[in-house]
């Protein structure tokens, strides 16, 4: 038995997972229309490389990675690009983002695939590029491009962790994937291990998924690989990367650092599965497993094409009539959807149909009574009640001093708060406010620099001109006077300069004046 460690706090919300694990993963039928966002991953938006009206094949590249942290986007099926414009996506802002609308032709025709027969004969850089172009990103929720996580530089990676904890209530997509596709996960994990050159491979799976653990163990035994499945205690947020690393290795990722800095890297099990398909079959990431659950008649997991509208998906599971909104992700960290037509993206692990009965609205928030129940459950050892105080009074500096940015927004504190304070909401507000300020500060510094440079330049130009004039005057003294034409030219030049100065000056006055009325 491996020695396990603990992290501080944690909660045990009702898991509500059994509803959606009764039947096997079903294939969702081809939707009538697909909306494929160009920004499905952390980092830069992919650059569209198709035009409206283009016919595309399944797996064809439609968005090229743009920038270091970016990933490719592909057509999930064959069909015609009907539009490239701003569409609603699953984002807490409810704002639209750039998407391609794809009308399937129903043939589901693949492009020519280029599988890699023996990945061991390729360099890690080549494999990274393959994953990048296959659009492989973390499927646990953050959608961080996997190739970046595999670029580790000189760091020696000791442990590769496959995250199958799936600690959020309701979500079962990883559970079902582990039960049904353990062999592919193990193959994918081995590819990742090879790329990282890690010494050991650990699968962290919460002990409420005995079938998944058994399936993984079988697959590992069959593959004769030296991987290890570790059953970890069920506690939320045990599936958060930093907490999982702590449980399995006893190490804490230092604040502001990456897991690789302590020789650990962590991937979701579903990411390993797609990595395997991308390398061994040449298939880009076109679909994923999504749990449809909550207020529906048939809670189930579906293999869904990226871009499928949520409403077509939910219809398969028959949402009950009192459903009043949909949530993407789990009940602890999920995002409320701004509309039912938003598409499934690479980060969509679960869609919950919610009703007032399922998630009853909280009674109004009361003042904090400093009971510290929040501090007791905080997995980051923070003092949420203090952070809340600083955030609500906009004391951002102190919030930062009290480690606001070490908060993982797990929501455990809000879950237990007897005063029903939306604590995480305050942290999100404070964090985004601080980020915006830092950005503004940067812009201001940049502007100051440019302004100072400009002043300096003008100064220099003036001086140089004066010097030149003086030199000329000296040289010209014995020479004959300027011709009348030259004189006229110079006068005109001078007049023009004067005019510009005047205009610029009046601009200053003008703006101040206009602000006056």
């Amino acid at each position: 038995m491996r020695e396990l460690y603990q992290f501080h706090g944690g909660i045990h919300p009702p898991s509500n997972k059994t509803q959606s694990t009764r039947v096997a993963i079903a294939h969702a039928p081809l939707p009538s229309m697909l909306t494929i966002p160009f920004h499905q991953h952390a980092g830069e938006t992919a650059k569209p490389v198709v035009k409206v009206g283009d016919h595309v094949l399944k797996g064809q590249l439609i968005g090229l990675p743009d920038g270091f942290v970016s990933s490719a986007v592909h057509a999930s099926t064959s069909g015609t690009i009907a539009a490239i414009d701003m569409q609603l996506i699953a984002h807490p802002s409810g704002l639209p983002n750039l998407c391609a609308t794809l009308i399937p032709d129903g043939k589901d025709e693949w492009i020519a695939l280029e599988p890699v027969a023996d990945y061991r004969s390729h360099s890690t850089t080549e494999l990274q590029q393959l994953l990048r172009m296959a659009g492989v990103v973390g499927l646990g929720g953050a959608a961080f491009p996997s190739d970046i996580k595999l670029r580790i530089g000189k760091q020696k990676i000791n442990t590769l962790i496959l995250n199958g904890a799936e600690c959020e209530p309701y979500i079962t997509c990883d559970d079902m994937l582990m039960r049904e596709r353990a062999a592919e996960i193990v193959q994918g994990a081995e590819i990742l291990r090879f790329m990282l050159d890690a010494n050991e491979v650990l699968y962290g799976v919460e002990d409420n998924k005995p079938e998944a653990i058994a399936a993984l163990q079988q697959a590992i035994a069959a593959s004769k690989l030296n991987h290890e499945v570790v059953s970890i205690p069920t506690i939320y947020p045990g599936g958060s990367a930093k907490q999982l690393i702590r449980v399995l290795t006893g190490l804490e990722v230092p604040s502001g650092k990456l897991p690789t800095d302590i020789g650990v890297q962590c991937f979701n099990v579903a990411t390993a599965c797609t990595a395997h398909r991308a390398i061994a079959h040449g298939e880009p990431l076109l679909s994923r497993v999504v749990t449809i659950t909550g207020n529906v008649r048939h809670a189930k997991n579906y293999e869904v094409l990226i871009g499928t509208p949520i409403n077509e998906l939910v219809a398969l599971s028959e949402a009950l009539p009192d459903t009043d909104r949909y949530i993407m992700g789990g009940p602890m960290m999920g995002v409320p959807l701004p509309g039912v037509q938003v598409p499934v993206v690479k980060a969509t692990n679960c869609v919950i149909a919610a009703s007032a009965k399922l998630f009853p609205p909280l009674s109004p928030a009361m003042p904090c009574i400093r009971c510290t129940r929040c501090a007791e459950v905080c997995p980051a050892d923070l003092q949420p009640q203090d952070l809340y105080w600083f955030a609500q009074s906009r004391e951002f500096g102190r919030a930062q001093a009290f480690s606001l940015f070490d908060c993982i927004e797990c929501g455990a504190c809000s879950y237990v708060c007897p005063s029903h304070i939306p604590l995480v909401q305050y942290y999100r507000f404070a964090k985004s406010e601080i980020r915006a300020r830092e950005h503004d500060k940067q812009l201001a510094d940049q502007a100051r620099e440019r302004h100072e440079y400009r002043e300096h330049r003008i100064e220099r130009e003036k001086r140089e001109k004066a010097e030149k004039l003086a030199a000329k005057a000296k040289a010209a003294k014995p020479a004959e006077p300027l011709t009348s034409q030259q004189q006229a030219e110079q006068a005109e030049l001078e007049a023009r300069r004067e005019h510009i100065r005047e205009v610029a000056q009046s601009a200053v006055e003008h703006t101040t004046e206009r602000n006056g009325d």
Binding site: P92, A365, S393, A447
Partner: protein
């Protein structure tokens, strides 16, 4: 009685000496005040404060010649920051200076005659273009100062407020029935 007085006086002298020594010994050579104020100002260089730029305004504040509520681009936030930096009470914007949404200048490229007047007005060199050629504003460098708008002889520069996109979207202050008043109380503190 006399002893007590002497003891007290002695203590006072010793403590005074310690304090004086500490003041010299631990004296921090801070940035001059002007730089500190300048660091808080938004560097829009718009001159709306009545000074030809942020640094001159900072200098005026430092010498007590200008109030701290003259900078619209800085917003209420800026006033708050200046107030806490200078240890004075924040004052609201006066009737004539009001903050507005942050904007960028946009040149209508069809109308532009390439006169270069705007280039000379831009305090941060954010406009590119040569004489008789179309000009463009480098949006990422534009501070939204509006100084280029007036000089344009063909009125082809407009100020466009920066719209909210996913990339610059911010979480809003949580507003919930009961906590709202608590929040305002907190903000006022």
């Amino acid at each position: 009685m006399l002893n007590a007085l002497l003891v007290m006086a002695g203590i006072a002298i010793v403590l005074g000496a310690v304090l004086g020594y500490a003041a010299i010994k631990f004296h921090v050579e801070g940035n001059p005040l002007v730089d500190k104020i300048d660091a808080v100002l938004p560097q829009t260089q718009c001159g709306q404060c009545g000074f030809p730029g942020c640094k001159p305004y900072a200098t005026a504040i430092a010498s007590g010649e200008a109030n701290i509520n003259k900078c619209p681009p800085g917003g209420e936030e800026g006033i708050q920051k200046l107030a806490s930096l200078l240890g004075v009470d924040p004052i609201p914007f006066g009737g004539d200076t009001q903050p507005k949404p942050k904007s960028v200048a946009i040149i209508d490229e069809n109308t532009c005659i390439g006169c270069t007047l705007c280039i000379q007005a831009c305090p941060v060199d954010a406009i590119v273009g040569a004489a008789k050629q179309m000009h463009t504003v480098v949006a990422s460098e534009c501070t939204g100062c509006e100084l280029c708008v007036a000089p344009c002889p063909v009125d082809c520069i407009i100020m466009k407020p920066i719209e909210e996109k996913i990339s610059n979207w911010k979480w809003k202050y949580p507003v919930y029935a009961l906590t709202e008043s608590a929040a305002t109380a907190g903000a006022a503190r």
